[in-house]
Symmetry: C2
Subunit: 461 residues, 2 copies
Amino acid sequence: MSAERVRFDFNYLMADLLGPEAGITRDALDGWQPRAKEMVTRFKRARERGGAAFADLAYKREELSRINELAGRVRSEYKNFVHLGIGGSSLGPKALHLALNSPCHNLLSPESRAGAPRIFFAENVDPDTLTALVDILEPAETFINVVSKSGGTVETVSQFLYFRHWLKKHLPGEDVSRHLAIITDAQKGELRRFADQEGITSFAVPPGVEGRYSVLSPVGLFPAAVMGIDIDQLLQGAASVDPVVCCEQLWENMALMAAVLFYLYQQERGKSQLVIMPYSDRLYAFGQWFRQLWAESLGKNGRGTTPVLALGTVDQHSQFQLYLEGPRDKLILFIKVGSFPARPRVPSGQGVEGFDYLKGRGFDELLDQEQKATELALAQGQCGSCSLTVPELNAHGMGQLIFVLEMVAVYAGMLYQVNPFDQPGVEKLKRILYGLMGRPGYRAEGEEVSPRDKKPGRYVI
Amino acid sequence: MSAERVRFDFNYLMADLLGPEAGITRDALDGWQPRAKEMVTRFKRARERGGAAFADLAYKREELSRINELAGRVRSEYKNFVHLGIGGSSLGPKALHLALNSPCHNLLSPESRAGAPRIFFAENVDPDTLTALVDILEPAETFINVVSKSGGTVETVSQFLYFRHWLKKHLPGEDVSRHLAIITDAQKGELRRFADQEGITSFAVPPGVEGRYSVLSPVGLFPAAVMGIDIDQLLQGAASVDPVVCCEQLWENMALMAAVLFYLYQQERGKSQLVIMPYSDRLYAFGQWFRQLWAESLGKNGRGTTPVLALGTVDQHSQFQLYLEGPRDKLILFIKVGSFPARPRVPSGQGVEGFDYLKGRGFDELLDQEQKATELALAQGQCGSCSLTVPELNAHGMGQLIFVLEMVAVYAGMLYQVNPFDQPGVEKLKRILYGLMGRPGYRAEGEEVSPRDKKPGRYVI
């Protein structure tokens, strides 16, 4: 299948359309070609040395049969699939689920779900959510998937202990390990030891792949396979854009071009916020996945820009007052869908003349016109925007979107001179939490922060 | 019932705890007292003259019996309640629904829903969402509530025409007006004419109340009553904090204090982003409601700050790398819940020593410790934060939170010298859309923007 490719349109960042003050000129971008070539060379060398393991996930197929096998058993035996994980352990599979399944998936009849169980993402340690979940789940019909790269994530481990206890309590005498899968490091961590000790089916997060770059590993692939998503097409989609995002020609490499433009707009135009704005309800969770990718990859050493998630058309009625007339500190990245499987239309005005101009319009046309109006209104105020268009919302298209944006983050990391694969701030926050909670080995962290906390009750109204 | 009050804690914005460079001193705030008093006086005068109609919604009770009556009929006759509206017409009721009903509401049995129908918010014109919705809804069992202040909102009117046609097609011979309610302006607009002409039950958006300030009007109250929310307690909650947010003493007025602090941190410390971060899944939609309130009220004349929504603990694993180690341009407002109705606990480590420190911990305690660790990690990096704590997630508490934050926005509007009740940028965007779509009377807008659009196909990869 020769599927259509994702397109990156940056007309409304260029001086031709945005004007010379706000826009970038063709000449300025031409001047970047030598550096662009160096960046691609550097990336390719790193990749060869194993320093960009995420980029080769699309070609790793050795686990696919085990993944499909367990997914098949889960689909045939369970009514509910509960995914425990937080951050990079949940945002990728959640993005795939929302993009590729019905927005009303859990309310569909089993037949309409085509064999997929109901899907639940339990990310938080919120007591209300946990309580509500166990209230509607039948233990015998529930499969629990636990994802933590380190094997010690507080939120996920707590949930895991809770749900495993719940299974054991309600299914006395049964081997609850059948209801469980664990995705964690191949060797290290408590969850790895637990899986091996209890004989729980497990998959490995490939070495060198950080959570936010792990969606094309078992972290995303196993849940996707349970949901009935064509994971082969997903990987093929990612692989299909590999030549594009590794091309040495700036004008032909959309990931590199986007990284350079976002960087220039921040450095030279003060755009400290990157608004990602899908015009599709189903891409909202994908926007949340991107928020993590962008924030954690670049937000270090005082650098980076804030990713802001907006949804078209909804946030036209919430955030656009600010975007159009507030401070000029934002750059907008629209995500568009080329064509929709169903095309409902607006019926006649039903007797009200004022509604007649809507008659016969497709809702897809309406969505497209709204995005266009938004882009034009922004351009009129010399506020730049660009767009990524995925031809269709299918597994192949999602694979493309994922790999293109991962590569934008990696190239942006080179421009900001930060390591896009670490997250020292998050590790620091975890150590403080462990210190507060009295986890053995973290006493110093608890003491370090507590003096500040001596009179916290003073300023309260 | 003398319920507990919402508390505003701003210790971690003060020099005492945050250090003299990043924090604000008590003396600096003392110096604001004269201006603070003037602001309250100015607000009270405007309120007396009818220039702050939203502030008196908590005392308007004349529509409550009609609201409760129709809500009772909907609850007894329908299985599904579909709310059509966008921006201020949906974010308020959606926030109430998510905060006060089960996170799994639509999956509960009718008995567990205690008489409330399944609730759907159709905000967007996304063809996928619309198609999925009509696939799972039975027309005979579905009630459609249409909300648009102007009566002409493209998205909402299109959906309304679609759903009304769908009802008529599937229920031939039936009076589909029984399945409909319209909430719009009392006199003006196409939807008002339609409601009157077809005899559809309608409620009025009170004059002078903009969408983002309308949740305590029929816009929020009717859906809330259908959901089984105690709307009397909701209004009482709002009224209960009225003396607090209209107090002339800065040190006793949490709304005024928050507005002054947020303003100072933007003007003097370069905090261009206000992160609202509830530590409760159920307050996520409330955060979306606040995003609109903040962005549309203040984002004009080049002023305002960007509201960013983050969720605790989830976004610790997504956004905190950036918040802790990226640019210092953010101020964090935590929203906390004082006590939870159910308190599940982490069971024992089940044989893994490394998990033992979690044994017996309540998930509510975990949530609280995580917020504390986050606050301390931020303070360690001299990044300021503050928190609003609602005693419990009930109607009374939500009424308090709503009115306090509305008043923060109004006071901030005074400080930024902008009108917090208009949205000229949104109106402009709507006119451009109408022009593009050929709506009669908007030809000029279409022509004005089209010349820019002459060669949009040039820069595409």
